[in-house]
């Protein structure tokens, strides 16, 4: 696996998707970085453990975490950053193979690919959910801590 090349390509692809979704111009670079981090995590996990579903979960999780942090720094909706990062994880090739096998009347193979594509879509959703819950807990904890520091007590 060619790391710099894949990093560059995923950066470029996520930035291009940012243009298609028309995200604010000053966030284009950070949007590309979100896409890059998600893809690199996905690839690394995939190469280490050889499980596309867990790898997609890890990728989506990282995308959502980074997007949340950037959303806090830029004070913009989180969706601006996460959208383009999610796209590379979409199981395009598996869905395509499922479709092709259906056309070729090879239904057993098609079901195999389709179930994988479905599981991967579910993994993307679960990754987003987990990241969201964890970030919310973290932000709550942080808010409590700053309140304590400033001398407020919270019931």
């Amino acid at each position: 696996m060619n790391w710099p090349l894949e990093a560059f390509l995923s950066f470029l692809a996520a930035g291009a998707f940012g243009i298609i979704f028309n995200i604010p111009r000053k966030t284009l670079i950070s949007c590309g970085l979100v896409g890059m981090s998600g893809w690199l995590f996905y690839r690394t996990y995939f190469l280490l453990f050889d499980d596309p579903i867990q790898a997609t979960f890890a990728g989506a999780f990282i995308v959502a975490i980074v997007a949340h942090i950037l959303a806090k720094t830029f004070k913009m909706p989180m969706i601006i950053f996460s959208v383009a990062g999610i796209i590379p994880l979409v199981p395009g090739s598996r869905a395509y193979n499922a479709m092709r096998n259906i056309v070729e009347n090879d239904y057993m193979e098609a079901v195999d690919f389709a179930v994988q594509a479905l599981m991967i879509s579910g993994a993307i959703a679960m990754g987003l959910v987990f990241a969201e819950v964890i970030m919310q807990l973290y932000f709550k904890y942080q808010a409590k801590r700053t309140q304590k520091k400033m001398g407020f007590t919270q019931e």
Binding site: L9, F21, K75, E104
Partner: protein, 251 residues
């Protein structure tokens, strides 16, 4: 709670509904729209307001004894810059940096202008994304120019059919058919190597990524009506793309 005058209340309602409408039309999540509207209402001393947002319309009731207002949302067009701008205006309104009148004027300004990148740049972006995905999905370097051109053409066709017919699924279907045909032709004429990766790469710009993320986040926030309808839209879009490719492959 201080009583607000009739004129001011009407202005406030117009402002909230306009904000909600612009956000919903530009592809924000339902729960964010509701959250923004309620926050703005609280900042204007409407403590017991209620708001119900679906992808097709927004209902807003300022309080129990006042009439409820409704706006219908027609087309949706992904334009996240508008979402960010409305969000910024509402933040400033809540932080008392803007008066209600100023906020309303800014909202109308945002509603009138559109911030989309020019079409040629979007097509170029789609082409670049297609070429990148060709390599990321394991395609060969020799196929890059084909994925670049076909991805751009596919995106352009979808945009054109969308403008002409206003039917999204049909546009995606036609775009997928065009992509599949071009990819198969390129390989048959001996220039391209692998039709599969060319098609996968070129189809990527059509993938309903925004709908998928929005559906998941809305479902999580408990907005099942909009979550399910956005999920259904995403599924139908994916199905239209798949059907378009399948038609080409079956010949």
């Amino acid at each position: 709670m201080t009583e607000i005058s009739e004129v001011r209340r009407e202005l406030a309602l117009d402002c909230f509904l306009l904000a909600g409408k612009v956000m919903m039309e530009s592809g924000a999540e339902t729960y964010r729209v509701e959250d923004t509207m309620i926050r703005m209402a609280v900042s204007q001393n409407m403590m017991d307001s209620h708001c119900f947002v679906t992808p097709a319309g927004i209902m807003f009731s300022p309080s129990n004894d006042l009439p409820t207002r409704f706006v219908r949302i027609h087309g949706r067009r992904t334009d996240l810059e508008r979402v960010a701008r409305v969000n910024a205006v509402s933040r400033r309104l809540v932080a008392d940096q803007l008066t209600l009148q100023q906020a309303y004027e800014e909202m109308t300004e945002i509603e009138k202008t559109h911030y989309l990148f020019p079409l040629w740049l979007q097509i170029l972006a789609a082409a670049v994304a297609s070429a990148c995905f060709l390599i990321l999905m394991g395609g060969g370097w020799a196929d890059i120019p084909f994925a670049f051109v076909i991805g751009g053409i596919g995106f352009y066709i979808v945009e054109m059919v969308l403008i002409k017919t206003r039917v999204k699924f049909f546009a995606e279907f036609i775009g997928a058919v065009a992509i599949g045909t071009l990819a198969v032709l390129v390989v048959h004429s001996g220039f391209g190597n692998d039709p599969d990766t060319i098609i996968i790469g070129s189809v990527m710009p059509l993938v309903p990524g925004l709908l998928i993320t929005n559906a998941v986040r809305d479902m999580m926030a408990g907005h099942f009506v909009s979550g399910l309808s956005m999920g259904a839209e995403a599924f139908l879009t994916a199905f239209a793309i798949g059907a378009g490719i399948a038609i080409v492959l079956s010949f």
